[in-house]
C-alpha cells in the first residue's frame, strides 16, 4: 500500500511534559487506522500536530509525499487533510451551509456563491450518505447531526485523509455503529481515515489496523485481524487489566424503597409509577437507552426532584421531599451523571471539592469558619485511599483527568460510609484502567453493606456489577431480573419496552 500520510519522529513537549516522543506513523490508501490509547496518552496532541494546530518540536509530516509546513491548518486543509474535532468547531447560531462554507472562498471576494456551495454540499451529502438540511440552524441539530456537519465540512474542502478525534464520545451505541458504516463506505470512495479512540470494542469492529500510544510513545502496531481486545487492552494500559468480578454474598434488608413514584414536571410525565427496592449489600442496575427517564431518576435520588405522587423511603423514613442536603444527612451519597457540571466545581481546589457536601459538619467548620487543616488532611486521605493521581489538595480539580476526578468524587461519597449510593453513569468517558478502579470501589462498598443503585447505558457494565437489573423505558421501570438470568436477548427486549407486566396497569 502507498502511504498517503506519514508522520516521522514527531516529538512535542509542553514545558517539562513530553506529550509525544519520537512517534512515527503511516497511513495507507483506503485504510482505516485506529489510534488507540488511554486519556492523556498523547493521541489528540499528535493529531493536532498533523492538522497544524500545534507545531512539533521535532519530526515532520508528509501528505501524499509532500512535507507540510508546521503549525498551519490552512496548509493541511489544502493538502487534503480534514479533521473532525471531538469538541465540534461549529457556530450554533449559523446555518449548516454557513458552517460548511467558512474559509472555502477567498476573503477578498465581493460576493459569495451560495448557490454553487449548496449544490456541492448536497452532492457530497448524497454521495456519502450523510443527509443534512443546509438551511437548518446548527443549534437545533442533535449531536449526531452536528457530527455529520463536522464531517461534511471536511469533505467539502476535498479532504482525502480524514482524522476523527473520539468520534463516538458523544454518540449512543446505534449512532456510533451507523457512523462506522458510513466511514467504511468512504474508504470505498478512496478516502483514508484515522480515528482516535479508547474504546476497545469499536477499534476491534471498525479498524483495519491499530496503533497504540502509551505515555506519548508508540508502543505497538497491529493488524486488527491479528490481535484481540485483551492484547490491545494490555498494550494500552501497559499491564494486564481485568475488571473485578462480583462475588456472591448474602443480601440484607431493604435500604431504599421507591413506592409507585410518579414525577410530573411542567406538564410532562418524567417518571411513571415506578417501584424498586435496593437492599443492603446489593447493586441494582438500571439499564436503558439514554433519554428514557434516567435524568429524572437521578434527580429524584439526588434530592433535586420530588415525587409528585408515591413515596421514597430510606431506612423506612420518607425522604422524597428532603432536598439534596437533607438526603445527604439521611445517609445517601451521589455520584452524578455529569461530573463536570454537577460533581465538581472545576475552578476550585481538590480539598474544597472534597468537603463541599459536608461544609456544615462540625468536622470541617467551626463558628462559621472552614477548618482548612482538617479539610486538607481529609483530601490527602482521599487522594491516597482512592489512588487519585496527578493531584494534591491544592490542585484545581479541573486539571484532573476524568478518571481521577471520578475517583475523587467516588471517594468523597464513600468516605462517610453511606447506607445508599447512587452511581449515575459512573464510568462514562473513562478509559479501561479507570473503569476497573471505579468498579473495584463500587464492589468494595457493596461488600461493606452499602445499597447501590447503578444507572448505566453500558450493558456489559450493568451485567458485571449488578445483582438485579431493571430496565427504564419512557419513564417506566420493568420488573427486576436476577443478573444470572439476564442474557443479552432478554435485556434487549426489556430495553425495547417488552416485559411481562403482572399488573395490567
Amino acid at each position: 500500500m502507498t502511504p498517503v500520510l506519514e508522520l516521522s519522529h514527531i516529538t512535542k513537549r509542553f514545558g517539562p511534559l513530553v506529550a509525544n516522543e519520537d512517534v512515527s506513523l503511516r497511513l495507507g490508501q483506503g485504510e482505516i487506522l485506529a489510534l488507540l490509547g488511554e486519556n492523556g496518552a498523547g493521541k489528540t496532541t499528535l493529531m493536532n500536530i498533523l492538522f497544524g494546530h500545534y507545531e512539533a518540536d521535532e519530526g515532520e509530516v508528509r501528505v501524499f509525499g509532500e512535507t507540510l509546513p508546521a503549525g498551519k491548518p490552512r496548509a493541511a486543509i489544502a493538502a487534503g487533510v480534514g479533521m473532525v474535532h471531538q469538541h465540534f468547531t461549529l457556530a450554533g447560531n449559523l446555518s449548516v451551509l454557513d458552517n460548511v462554507m467558512l474559509g472555502s472562498e477567498r476573503l477578498s471576494r465581493i460576493g459569495s456563491d451560495r448557490r454553487a456551495a449548496r449544490k456541492k454540499l448536497m452532492a457530497i451529502s448524497e454521495r456519502f450518505g450523510l443527509p443534512v438540511d443546509p438551511d437548518a440552524r446548527v443549534s437545533k441539530l442533535s449531536v449526531g447531526e452536528r457530527q455529520r456537519v463536522e464531517i461534511l465540512k471536511a469533505l467539502y474542502r476535498d479532504a482525502r485523509v480524514l482524522i476523527l478525534d473520539e468520534p463516538t464520545a458523544v454518540l449512543a451505541r446505534p449512532e456510533a455503529e451507523r457512523l462506522f458504516e458510513t466511514l467504511r463506505g468512504m474508504t470505498q470512495d478512496g478516502l483514508s481515515l484515522i480515528f482516535i479512540s479508547h474504546k476497545l470494542h469499536e477499534v476491534m469492529a471498525a479498524s483495519d489496523r491499530v496503533a497504540v500510544l502509551r505515555g506519548g510513545r508508540m508502543v505497538a502496531e497491529r493488524a486488527t485481524s491479528e490481535t484481540s481486545s485483551s492484547e490491545l487492552a494490555e498494550l494500552m494500559v501497559g499491564r494486564k487489566v481485568q475488571r473485578p468480578v462480583r462475588q456472591d454474598h448474602a443480601i440484607g434488608a431493604p435500604v431504599l424503597q421507591a413506592e409507585r413514584i410518579t414525577i410530573v414536571e411542567e406538564g410532562e410525565t418524567r417518571l411513571e409509577d415506578i417501584s424498586f427496592t435496593v437492599n443492603e449489600g446489593e447493586i441494582l442496575g438500571i439499564v436503558g437507552v439514554s433519554g428514557n427517564g434516567q435524568g429524572a431518576l437521578g434527580a429524584l435520588l439526588s434530592g433535586l426532584m420530588a415525587p409528585t405522587s408515591g413515596a421514597l423511603r430510606l431506612n423506612g423514613a420518607d425522604v422524597g421531599q428532603l432536598g439534596p442536603r437533607g438526603l445527604i444527612a439521611a445517609g445517601a451519597a451521589r455520584v452524578p451523571e455529569d461530573r463536570h457540571a454537577e460533581g465538581a466545581v472545576g475552578e476550585m481546589t481538590v480539598w474544597e471539592n472534597a468537603i463541599l457536601e459536608r461544609l456544615r459538619s462540625a468536622a470541617f467548620s467551626r463558628f462559621g469558619f472552614v477548618r482548612r487543616a482538617e479539610a486538607k488532611a481529609h483530601a490527602r486521605e482521599l487522594i491516597q485511599r482512592f489512588d487519585v493521581r496527578g493531584a494534591g489538595p491544592d490542585t484545581r480539580i479541573r486539571l484532573l483527568s476524568g478518571g481521577n476526578m471520578q475517583k475523587l468524587i467516588l471517594g468523597r461519597c464513600l468516605a462517610t460510609g453511606p447506607r445508599f449510593l447512587l452511581a449515575n453513569q459512573p464510568t462514562r468517558g473513562l478509559d479501561e484502567g479507570a473503569i476497573a478502579a471505579v468498579h473495584e470501589e463500587l464492589l468494595a462498598a457493596r461488600a461493606e453493606g452499602a445499597a447501590i443503585l447503578l444507572i448505566s447505558e453500558e450493558l456489559e457494565e450493568a451485567v458485571q456489577l449488578s445483582d438485579r437489573i431493571q430496565a427504564i423505558v419512557k419513564g417506566r421501570l420493568s420488573e427486576p431480573v436476577a443478573a444470572g438470568e439476564a442474557d443479552a436477548r432478554r435485556l434487549g427486549l426489556m430495553m425495547a419496552g417488552v416485559w411481562d407486566t403482572q399488573d395490567a396497569a
Partner: protein, 313 residues
C-alpha cells in the same frame, strides 16, 4: 393634543429625525461590527469624542470637510487598534479596556483641543456641511425634503448600512467575521486567523464610530466642546442589542430613538405645565421599553467577550 399630532405631520420633524439619527447610525454600525467579531467596544463614547474633535480640528486648520471625516475615521481606527491590541492578542477584559479607552480618548481629545486651539469667550467655529438637495429626488413632495435634503454624511451613513449589511450577510469575509464572533475555534480549524479578523473588525468598527463623532462637529454643529457626545455611544451599545446584531434593524433602532428625541423636543413647545426634564428623559425610557420588548429574543454572538488563544479550549 391636536397640536401634538400636527407635529407628526411636519416635514421638519422627519428631517430632524434623520439628522439626529446619523451619528447613532455610524456608532451603532461600528459597535455592531466589533461585537459581531466577538469584541465588545465600550470605548465608543471616547472614540466618538475623539472623532468629533479631530474632524473639526482638521477643518479648523484648513483641511476641507471630507478630509475632516477621513482624519476622524483614522483617529477612531487608531483608538480601535489600541482596544484591539489590549483585548485580542493580550486577551484583557473587554469591559475594563473599553471603559479605559473612553476615559482616555475623551480626555486626550479635550487636551489636544486646548493645546492647539485658542478658546475665547465663545468656542471657534468652522463652516460645516450644508444640506444638499439631491437633484430631481428632492422635488418629490414630503419625501424629498425629508430624505433628499440632508447633509452628505447622512447619505454616507445610509449607504454604510447597506454596505455593512451586504458584507456581513453575503461575502466570505462577512461570514468569517460572524463565525469569529460565534466560535473562533471553528475559524481556526478552517485555516483562517480569528485574531486577525477580530483586530480588523474592531479597527474598522472604531473608524465608523469616529465618523459618527465627526458628524456632530462638521454637520450638526460647527464647533467642538468636550461633553458634546452626550452618551450617544452608550445608546449605540444598547441599540446593538435592540437590533439583534443586524445592520438593518440597527438603522430602525437609531431612527426610532431619533424620532423620540426629535418629537420630545417639539412637544416641549406645545405642551405646557410639564417640566421639560421629563421630555428629555422620554427617549431613554422608551428605548429601554423597546429594548425589553425586542431583546429577549436576541441572539448574542456566542463568543462575545471571550478572548481566543490558540491551542486552548
Amino acid at each position: 393634543m391636536i397640536e401634538a399630532l400636527d407635529l407628526l405631520m411636519s416635514e421638519s420633524l422627519w428631517a430632524a429625525v434623520l439628522r439626529i439619527a446619523t451619528p447613532l447610525i455610524f456608532g451603532v454600525l461600528g459597535a455592531l461590527l466589533c461585537e459581531r467579531s466577538g469584541v465588545l467596544n465600550l470605548g465608543i463614547e471616547g472614540i466618538m469624542t475623539m472623532g468629533a474633535m479631530t474632524g473639526w480640528l482638521t477643518v479648523y486648520l484648513g483641511g476641507d470637510l471630507w478630509m475632516g471625516l477621513v482624519i476622524a475615521a483614522l483617529a477612531g481606527a487608531l483608538m480601535g487598534l489600541l482596544h484591539a491590541g489590549l483585548t485580542v492578542p493580550l486577551g484583557l477584559s473587554q469591559h475594563v479596556s473599553g471603559l479605559g479607552i473612553t476615559l482616555f480618548a475623551s480626555a486626550l481629545a479635550y487636551y489636544l483641543y486646548r493645546l492647539i486651539v485658542e478658546v475665547g469667550e465663545t468656542p471657534p467655529t468652522i463652516e460645516p456641511f450644508r444640506p444638499y438637495a439631491v437633484p430631481v429626488l428632492s422635488d418629490i413632495p414630503v419625501l424629498g425634503p425629508v430624505l433628499f435634503t440632508q447633509t452628505a454624511p447622512t447619505y454616507l451613513a445610509l449607504v454604510t448600512v447597506a454596505v455593512l449589511a451586504y458584507v456581513l450577510a453575503r461575502t466570505p469575509l462577512g461570514l468569517a467575521i460572524r463565525m469569529t464572533g460565534e466560535n473562533p475555534h471553528a475559524v481556526e480549524a478552517q485555516g483562517l486567523n480569528p485574531n486577525a479578523l477580530r483586530v480588523g473588525a474592531v479597527v474598522a468598527g472604531s473608524a465608523l464610530m469616529g465618523l459618527g463623532g465627526a458628524f456632530l462637529t462638521t454637520a450638526a454643529f460647527n464647533s467642538f466642546f468636550p461633553e458634546m457626545v452626550q452618551g450617544r455611544g452608550w445608546i449605540c451599545i444598547a441599540l446593538v442589542v435592540f437590533a439583534s446584531w443586524q445592520p438593518g434593524k440597527a438603522l430602525v433602532g437609531a431612527l426610532l430613538f431619533a424620532f423620540f428625541d426629535a418629537y420630545q423636543l417639539r412637544l416641549q413647545t406645545v405642551v405646557e405645565g410639564v417640566p421639560y426634564q421629563l421630555f428629555l428623559m422620554a427617549p431613554y425610557v422608551l428605548s429601554i421599553v423597546a429594548l425589553i420588548l425586542v431583546a429577549r429574543r436576541a441572539e448574542v454572538p456566542e463568543a462575545l467577550m471571550a478572548p481566543y488563544r490558540r491551542g486552548e479550549r
